[in-house]
């Protein structure tokens, strides 16, 4: 096992390597709704012209999260975006190169919901995130590179503030609870009124083309938020577990034509077909454990097979652990750091490995509205990836390096948290290796000495300034 970072110049990599799986990477098929991003990039380029930053991972077993698998592949990124994935990739001379040495590379994980990864930040994320937070580093160490918090999508850009907030809000929380029949009724009414308005509005738009005097329909009781939902601009999010609620939501969704996101969804397995037909998404904790109400005749309660059953019925599954935050109290395997472990429990319940990986990458990315940026390794997307020493969902696997937007932001060997656990040969805790006395090694101490010399005169100058004033 070997994985080191060099800034040395690596020339053209010849595609001698073997290659497995589908080579379906020619063109990215996702929607490009990133006008804002492009502008940002343009701004960056203005600041630093001609300074494209290249980054490459080489010799990697790449599991891009789109099905398939590349062996001994290279992922190349320019300014944080993936430009190429494959076995015959030209790596520019000035690229920062990460040699994965045959380790596995996965897309960075997306935690659908998290808490406390960015310090105390809980709103106004652009202005409050603490990207030096130990929790953030530990989350990176457990593979999370994008996290949902309070409905926003945040990138774990360590030590940076710009670009941390990926998306402010992709969904709106609607209440549909069997505890609140009046609320349910009112929600249904709102949908009815808004759908009617939307129909009239669209008819008016058509009519306008021929009839200039057509009158715009009145908004009446239509609801602005629900209008966004019906237009597909915002996802409708529910927190529901009971069979009765889930059925109600499924019917509402089918009737008015939107795809609901259902968090919890504990009894989803009992109404999987209905949820599948409604195009629902479910956010599930496979280990959730609630007994069925003995009052009910129908099947109920939680099931470890929930994710698998729903998935088979066509429901897209995102998986989250029971605790959104980092728990260092000692009981391991249940907090946000156990995202991949929790996905493993999905597999235990019958989910395929691929579906389980999707449940912690691309599906939550979709639900957070950032699937065009993260969630899979594809050309055009952000270069957010993990170098792992094994199967991502195996309980002994550790992230060796985490890369966010083409920058290595976490290295197991260099952080206190996990470096001592099965240290690999390049670890700081491993026995010292031979010192390279080549040119590069020799150049460094001299540079340092120079720096020191430069500092001293500056301090003296300050002293002189003081004298001058006298």
């Amino acid at each position: 096992m070997k994985s080191t970072i060099h800034d040395t110049r690596i020339g053209k990599l010849l595609g001698l390597a073997t290659f497995l799986g589908a080579f379906a990477f020619a063109t990215p098929s996702f929607a490009q709704e990133e006008g804002g991003e492009k502008k940002d990039e343009a701004a960056k380029n203005e600041e630093k012209p001609d300074e494209d930053k290249w980054f490459a991972v080489i010799n990697a077993d790449v599991f891009p999260g789109t099905g398939g698998h590349f062996r001994d592949a290279t992922i190349l990124a320019k300014n944080g975006k993936i430009t190429e994935i494959g076995v015959a990739v030209d790596v520019p001379d000035d690229a920062t190169v990460l040699d994965a040495g045959g380790l596995r590379v996965y897309p960075g994980l997306v935690a659908y919901a998290s808490a406390g990864l960015f310090g105390n930040a809980s709103s106004d994320f652009a202005d409050t995130v603490n990207t030096f937070s130990p929790n953030l580093v530990m989350a990176l160490g457990n593979g999370i590179t994008t996290a949902g918090q309070s409905g926003a999508a945040l990138k774990l850009k360590r030590g940076e503030v710009d670009g941390v907030l990926l998306k402010e809000k992709a969904s709106t929380l609607l209440s549909y609870s069997s505890q609140n029949p009046q609320g349910k009724r009112s929600l249904i009414d709102k949908f009815e009124a808004t759908a009617a308005y939307l129909r009239d509005y669209r008819a008016w738009e058509e009519e306008k083309k021929t009839n200039k005097d057509a009158k715009e329909p009145p908004k009446k009781d239509s609801d602005a938020t629900i209008l966004q939902v019906l237009k597909g601009e915002v996802r409708a999010r529910f927190q529901a577990d009971d069979r009765d609620e889930l059925l109600g939501i499924a019917r509402l969704a089918q009737k008015y034509g939107f795809r609901p996101v259902i968090e919890g969804c504990r009894e989803g397995w009992t109404v999987a077909e209905e949820l599948g037909r409604a195009g629902a998404y479910a956010v599930i904790t496979p280990r959730d454990r609630v007994d069925k109400s003995e009052e009910l005749v129908a099947a109920g309660g939680t099931s470890i097979e929930n994710a698998a059953i729903l998935r088979r019925a066509g429901v897209q599954i995102a998986i989250v652990p029971a605790a959104k935050g980092v728990d260092l109290g000692g009981i391991a395997g249940r907090d946000i750091l156990a995202l991949a472990i929790e996905a493993g429990f999905g597999v235990r319940g019958g989910l395929t490995n691929e579906a389980a990986l999707e449940a912690i990458t691309i599906v939550p990315a979709r639900l957070l509205g950032v699937e065009h940026r993260v969630g899979t390794l594809e050309v055009g997307k952000d270069c957010d990836l993990l170098v792992c020493d094994g199967d991502l969902m195996h309980y002994e696997t550790f992230v060796q390096q985490a890369v966010v937007e083409g920058k290595v932001v976490y290295e197991k060997n260099k952080e206190l948290f996990y470096a001592h656990i099965r240290p690999n040969e390049t670890s700081a805790l491993a026995p010292p290796t031979r010192v390279d006395k080549g040119q590069e090694g020799a150049a460094k101490p001299a540079d340092e000495a120079k720096d020191k010399d430069e500092k001293k005169p500056d301090e003296k100058q300050d002293g002189k300034d003081g004298e001058k004033k006298d």
């Binding site: 106004d124 202005d127 409050t128 995130v129 030590g159 503030v161 206190l416 300050d462 002293g463 004033k469």
Partner: protein, 440 residues
């Protein structure tokens, strides 16, 4: 006062001839740490009218001049505490009040000033209280005097900004400069209008005025010197404005806007309090490309993570204010000497007492001694308690080092001030022993 200039130019000779001029005192000390130009053994310091007239090695002293004979003592400049709430009212706001000056809060006869003075703190930067936002502008005082007026050395020393990583702090900063921009626009229009009305060329005038200014410079009193140093930093643009003043009256800036114009004109500094490394990121982002002079107070807490940003702060050669504390890396018992780390990274260091209590003032050198023992350069540490805060406060022309022309604020220690066994034997404030005793 004119004598002083003479004296400093031809030290020993002048000294002898002026023996009978009165109000003179000579200090013979085994060890004088000037801070500005190293340490002098067997030094003589001549003080007149509370000012240091000269300082040098083994200077002859004219008979008749009273002599303070301290062959075994170490003399260092009076300490400067740049960040204190001594003798002030306890309450403060955390709103946006950049125009408020702390001067009016001073309780002149408060015992706390005496406590500070007796512990060797001869200059205090007093800051307006506030747990957030911009509570106002600090002032500099000497801890002696019957009235606040007598104590005041400088008003409007720095604008305090207690920064936190939140939308409010960032918006406050951006809005403030936005308002300043609005004023600049307004002023520009007013001037254009005035110029149009005048229809005159003003280039000749400008030349004249500059000559006048040079003359003023030649005869500078101590107070004027201070203005002068500020004036050096003034931009030509500003000078132009004054020139035009005769005919053209610029519109009055809002009092909450003016501090930000002053910041841009480098007439005022900002002191930004940071609590975490992330605060630095957010502050830098909010400040953007705004060119102002500012210093950072870093509130050290046990597990503070500011070492994460020592490099960018050091590279900018910023001045950091810290307490002499050893901190730890979060989650560990690994100790860090942040003052030393920031100095190594290139930052300028101001050390603060750990608090305002009399016992803390008394132990200040010992606390600093602890971080010297942990690796901070000793001379940097002494400078961080004297000249560096004086420069930060804009009073380095008067205090902070043992140099001719400066106030004779001197501390007499029985040994190295950072040794726990050393005692502060006496404190001299402006030429008078105000605490302790020395052999006359």
């Amino acid at each position: 006062m004119k004598l002083r200039n003479l004296l400093s130019s031809c030290a020993a000779l002048a000294l002898a001839s002026l023996a009978s001029a009165g109000d003179l005192v000579a200090i013979k000390a085994g060890h004088v740490e000037t801070v500005s130009h190293g340490c002098i053994q067997h030094a003589v310091i001549l003080v007149e009218d509370g000012k240091i007239v000269t300082v040098g090695k083994d200077l002859p002293i004219q008979r008749g001049i009273p002599v303070i004979d301290a062959p075994d003592l170490w003399v260092v400049p009076g300490f400067v505490d740049a960040y204190s709430r001594v003798g002030l009212e306890a309450r403060g706001s955390s709103e946006f009040n950049p125009h408020v000056k702390v001067d009016a809060e001073i309780f002149a006869r408060n015992d706390e000033f005496r406590d500070a003075l007796e512990a060797g703190v001869t200059t205090l930067g007093l800051y307006p209280a506030g747990s957030g936002g911009m509570p106002g502008q600090a002032c500099v005082v000497r801890p002696a005097g019957a009235t606040a007026q007598e104590m005041l050395v400088k008003s409007g020393s720095y604008l305090l900004f207690v920064f936190r990583s939140d939308a409010r702090s960032k918006k406050m900063l951006k809005d403030a400069f936005e308002k300043a921009n609005e004023y600049v626009e307004k002023e520009k229009k007013a001037r254009e209008k005035w110029e149009k009305d005048q229809g005159k060329k003003k280039d000749d005038k400008k030349e004249e005025k500059k000559d006048e200014k040079k003359e003023e410079k030649k005869e500078g009193t101590a107070a004027e010197l201070q203005d002068e140093s500020a004036a050096q930093e003034k931009k030509d643009e500003k000078a132009e404005k004054t020139d035009a003043a005769k005919g053209y009256v610029p519109p009055e800036a809002d009092e909450k806007v003016k501090p930000f114009l002053d910041l841009r004109a480098k007439k005022l500094r900002m002191l930004v309090t940071l609590f975490t490394a992330a605060d630095w990121l957010h502050f830098s982002q909010a400040l953007g490309k705004e060119d102002i002079g500012y210093d950072l107070r870093i509130a050290l807490t046990r597990d503070i993570d500011v070492w994460e940003v020592a490099k960018p702060i050091g590279e900018k050669k910023l001045r950091v204010l810290m307490e002499p504390e050893i901190t730890t890396v979060w989650g560990t018992l690994r100790q860090r000497n942040l003052p030393a780390e920031f100095v190594a990274a290139g930052a300028k260091l101001v050390l603060l007492p750990r608090g305002d209590a009399p016992s803390i003032f008394k132990n200040w050198p010992r606390h600093v001694g602890e971080i010297i023992a942990a690796g901070l350069d000793r001379d940097v540490a002494l400078r961080a308690m004297t000249l560096e805060p004086a420069e930060m406060l804009g009073v380095a022309d008067r205090v902070g080092s043992v140099d001719a022309g400066k106030d004779a604020n001197l501390l007499f220690f029985t040994g190295d001030p950072f040794q726990a066994t050393s005692k502060l034997a006496a404190v001299m404030l402006e030429g008078r022993i105000v605490h302790g005793e020395v052999q006359q």
